[in-house]
């Protein structure tokens, strides 16, 4: 009470004291021009946050074109990705391009083509490869290095591109296709989404394992490791870069119904039974959204089985896809559910993504049964929820939910853990099934921590993930659904929402096929020679097949080994002799083996042992892994002595539909060659300050902040107040004399 009185007293006192100084002070500020500042017209440029490491030397990034050839055989896709690095400058350049691949892709071959010459890459242990690359780069030899940063993010460095020169880098990878609800699907990611790291702000490339001291890596080499940020091309200033051409040959191995793409216009020509040739309609498309393709096999009375094998040395690798019978429709669950929806509304969801997410949830809310209970949690930097705990899906509650959805905008970072905890902590009532439906683009980089959380807190709940937008981090989504024993569905755009949500609800509403087991006929005999993935088959939701990949001794072919699959009263057998030979199966197995090894880290396997095991697999199967890289170097020196080498990053396109300002700070973009050249010709005063030019050696992590407001309505009040007083005075002055004169006249 005392304090309040004091406050009031002080207020009135200070009001009198401050009246004068403030109003005179404000007049002063007008002529004090703030230090270190250019005119307002320059402001836009002056906001660039990167400096050049060498003042006065600015170089445009090398331009890139991409050609993709995909060869689909059954359930395996083999893709050749050709990238052209063009150097439009008069300098010798090093180009670095970060490219995404499907999350289950295994990169096994690379070559660089310079004019007529082809240099094949070899697989090498990562640090050794990095060292050899740096050495080649320094000595002026042409070199290329492919490294893996995350399961689905790779980078490609090409050194010593001659002035005006062109280098093609050809990458080859193998991928197993997805089959779900009667459709095969293939996705080719064409952009890397800028990811949000709760510890370190926006980070475009994901954490690179920077070796610590004592790992035997010389300090100068460590300093030369690629910077962790990729420049983002400012799509508000220039048309998309990086044109892509894509050709696909499809040999499904079964009669086909339809072939379609949800993301791009395609031309499909029929080249035989189950064979198609697919090209992109627009011939070249910008690399700003993932390419997807679907094909539906013709339904037959036979259960769907697709199995392939590849013999390499003493091993035979087998992959099999077996469709279990669909559960009876009347077996639809009647158990009431608690559904918790989690909506990611971070800045990376801006644009098309948040619209798609909102309509997906709208559709989900419409599908709820009155006996269900639900809640809606949304998060960015902060987490809030519709209800404090799950509430019955009454009409009123659904309406609330829809209103809540409608005013959800995409801003801020992605801090996912509190939302996840909130969803998994609210304990469901006895006898209720809890399903958590997570709608996100997965643009996070603390994935391991999140997976661990899901494992630890899941209990009897099931976690389903819905991937939204032009380039969701499907590695995260798939693994999260796996850890959450649920399923993952990908919605590329608003038009797809309805169809995909129906698929998703098919899964949510039907019972899963559980307790599936498998065995090879000679299991016991060659235990050490045989290994299959997944070790345990997860719960199967409606429309999903059993997918297995095994390594067997080559002798198994002659022995006529067979595979038995069973669950409840369902049983299926597959003879090894019935599998068709195909390329790339060994690579698929190696990829699964590496995934299993990485997962064993979470269960406490010793890190060094896992590292050695992964490196060994990488070296034997010629795969790019976290510990092995593909390296190509030329023997002859190309760059003349004395000519310096300049390092540039190739800008990555912003996601389709994403606005530049939503994910990036203003002015962080790096335009194409021309724009950058123009920028480097900025006034010398600007250059001297070093704030106007985009840096080529970029700092580690960016922090993005919303700037607070910083002014009071002081002058508005003052102006209105004085205005009113003035009018009062004028009226008074006008009225009083006129009264006197009229009085005089009356007298």
């Amino acid at each position: 009470m005392n304090v309040r009185l004091l406050n009031v007293l002080c207020t009135s006192l200070a009001a009198a004291l401050f009246a004068l100084p403030i109003s005179t002070g404000s007049a002063q500020t007008a002529d004090t021009s703030p230090p270190g500042l250019m005119t307002l017209g320059d402001v836009q440029r002056g906001q660039l946050l990167f400096r050049t490491t060498e003042p006065g030397r600015y170089v445009p990034a090398p331009l890139v074109a991409t050609e993709v050839d995909i060869d689909v055989g059954g359930i395996v896709a083999r893709a050749t990705l050709k990238q052209y690095f063009v150097n439009p400058t008069k300098d010798w350049l090093e180009g670095r391009y970060v490219f995404p691949l499907p999350e289950n892709a295994a990169v096994d071959r690379m070559k660089i083509v310079i004019g007529e010459r082809v240099i094949e890459a070899r697989i090498a242990e990562r640090i050794a490869a990095r060292r050899a690359y740096e050495a080649a780069k320094k000595s002026g030899r042409r070199a290329a290095l492919v490294e893996q940063h995350r399961p689905n993010v790779f980078s490609n460095n090409v050194a010593n591109i001659p002035p005006g020169g062109r280098i093609a880098v050809e990458l080859h990878y193998v991928q197993r296709l997805n089959y779900d609800s009667g459709k095969f699907s293939l996705r080719f990611p064409l952009v890397v989404a800028p990811r949000f790291d709760p510890a370190g702000g926006v980070r475009h490339l994901v954490k690179q394992p920077v070796p610590k001291n004592g790992d035997g890596m010389p300090a100068p080499l460590r300093a030369a490791l690629p910077p962790q940020i990729v420049p983002v091309h400012n799509n508000e200033q220039a048309p998309p870069l990086n044109p892509v051409t894509l050709n696909l040959t499809l040999d499904a191995g079964m009669a086909l119904n339809a072939v379609s793409s949800a993301t791009h216009k395609i031309d499909v020509s029929n080249t035989g039974t189950g064979k198609r040739r697919v090209t992109l309609d627009a011939k070249t498309v910008p690399a700003d959204r993932d390419f997807t393709l679907f094909w539906t096999p013709k339904l037959t009375a036979e259960p769907l089985v697709a199995a392939f094998r590849e013999t390499i040395g003493k091993d035979v690798f087998v992959t099999a896809l077996v469709m279990p019978p669909a559960p009876q429709d009347n077996a639809r669950r009647s158990r009431p559910r608690d559904i918790v929806f989690i909506l990611d509304r971070s800045g990376s969801m801006g644009g098309v993504s948040i619209h798609a997410a909102r309509s997906a949830l709208d559709a989900a809310i419409d599908r709820l049964d009155p006996q269900d209970r639900f809640n809606l949690i949304r998060f960015s930097n902060e987490t809030d929820s519709l209800f404090t705990h799950a509430m019955p899906a009454t009409d009123t509650n659904r309406l609330f939910a829809k209103m809540y959805l409608r005013d959800t905008r995409a801003v801020g970072g992605t801090v996912m853990r509190p939302a996840l905890h909130a969803a998994l902590n609210d304990k469901p009532e006895e006898g209720r099934l809890r399903q958590v439906v997570f709608v996100t683009d997965g643009a996070v980089s603390n994935e391991t921590q999140l997976f661990r959380d899901i494992y630890q807190r899941l209990g009897n709940s099931r976690l389903f993930t819905i991937g939204i937008g032009s380039a969701p981090n499907s590695y995260f989504m798939r693994k999260a659904a796996e850890a959450g024993r649920g399923a993952f569905v990908y919605i590329p755009d608003v038009a797809q929402v309805k169809a995909r949500m129906t698929t998703m609800f098919g899964k949510l509403e039907r019972p899963a096929l559980t307790g599936i087991s498998y065995a090879w006929s000679n299991d016991k005999a060659d235990q050490s020679l045989q290994e299959s993935f997944p070790a345990a088959i997860p719960d199967l939701y409606f429309g999903a097949p059993v997918v297995l990949v095994s390594r067997l001794p080559a002798a198994a072919l002659d022995r006529n080994d067979f595979l038995t699959l069973s669950a409840g009263n369902w049983k299926s057998e597959l003879r090894l002799a019935d599998t068709r030979p195909a390329e790339g199966i060994g690579t698929l197995w190696a990829r699964d083996k590496i995934m299993a090894l990485s997962d064993s880290l979470r269960d406490g396997a010793p890190k060094s042992a896992v590292k050695d095991a992964i490196a060994k697999i990488g070296l034997t199967h010629s795969l790019v892994t976290r510990y092995t890289s593909l390296l190509a170097t030329e023997i002859t020196v190309a760059r003349p002595k004395g000519a310096p080498l300049v390092t540039g990053d190739t800008p990555v396109n912003l996601l389709h539909g994403g606005r530049f300002g939503t994910t990036m700070g203003a002015g962080m973009g790096i335009g194409p060659g021309k724009a950058m050249l123009k920028r480097s010709a900025a006034p010398p005063s600007l250059r001297a300050r070093g704030s106007a030019v985009a840096e080529l050696k970029l700092p580690v992590a960016m922090k993005s902040v919303y700037l607070p407001a910083g002014a009071t309505p002081f002058f508005v009040h003052l102006a209105i107040g004085f205005g009113l007083l003035m009018i009062a005075a004028i009226v008074f002055v006008v009225v009083v004399p006129s009264r006197r004169s009229s009085l005089r006249r009356a007298a």
Binding site: N7, T11, P34, G200, L707, G710, F714, L725
Partner: protein
């Protein structure tokens, strides 16, 4: 005669009303700097209590914010208590620490925002090389040197390298604008020189090198 009188009364009433409105408006205008100044007096008391180890000291019982640092600009004679958060209510009483950035006086990117026409008016007179001092709740003072000033558009999130140790003071721009709520912000960037211990603000004994862990 009566008609004339009543007209005159009406006019006088209107004049009085206008005058009352004017006084009210001028009053509420003057209330802004007054509140800003008086709150700082109360905040300095709260800060003294914070320095003795109390956490989240509310300067007055119904306050929804608390002091987190003391900001001194020796060149302009500014001495302010920085509040937690940058809600409009908090900013009326003092500059606020922008949530999500490093705590004032701690390594990393730390940002403090304030009104250009009250507390942070002095920013316009700050020049590269000027000292900026931040006293932390533990009593230690981190001394910064102003490096540059930039202008940013607040309609877009502003980004800076996070590993760069800097203090950013933000206020509205242009300084002389009459209407509040414009999109531009004036940013003063300051880099740390050293950190002085509790006992010696002026004689830096317990110096720790810039950027080193504390």
């Amino acid at each position: 005669m009566t008609r004339f009188l009543s007209g005159r009364t009406a006019l006088l009433a209107a004049v009085l009303l206008l005058a009352a409105g004017g006084v009210w408006q001028v009053g509420s205008a003057l209330f802004i700097p007054a509140k800003a100044a008086v709150a700082q007096i109360l905040l300095h008391r709260a800060w003294d209590r914070t320095l003795t180890g109390e956490d989240r000291v509310k300067p007055w019982p119904w306050a929804d914010t608390w002091p987190v640092a003391r900001l001194k600009l020796p060149d302009t004679g500014t001495d302010l208590i920085v509040l937690a958060g940058t809600s409009g209510q908090a900013l009326a009483f003092g500059p606020g620490h922008v949530g999500g950035t490093a705590a004032p006086g701690r390594p990393g990117l730390s940002m403090i925002g304030g009104h250009r026409d009250t507390h942070l008016k002095a920013l316009a007179r700050l020049k590269p090389g000027s000292r900026v001092e931040i006293q932390r709740p533990d009593g230690a003072t981190r001394v910064y040197r102003m490096e540059s000033a930039t202008i940013a558009d607040s309609r877009r999130p502003w980004a800076a390298p996070e590993d760069r140790d800097q203090l950013v003071l933000v206020t509205c721009y242009p300084f002389e604008a009459l209407i509040p709520g414009g999109p531009l912000r004036y940013l003063v960037h300051a880099v740390p020189l050293y950190t002085a211990d509790v006992s010696s603000t002026h004689q830096p004994t317990g110096i720790s090198p810039t950027g080193a862990p504390y």
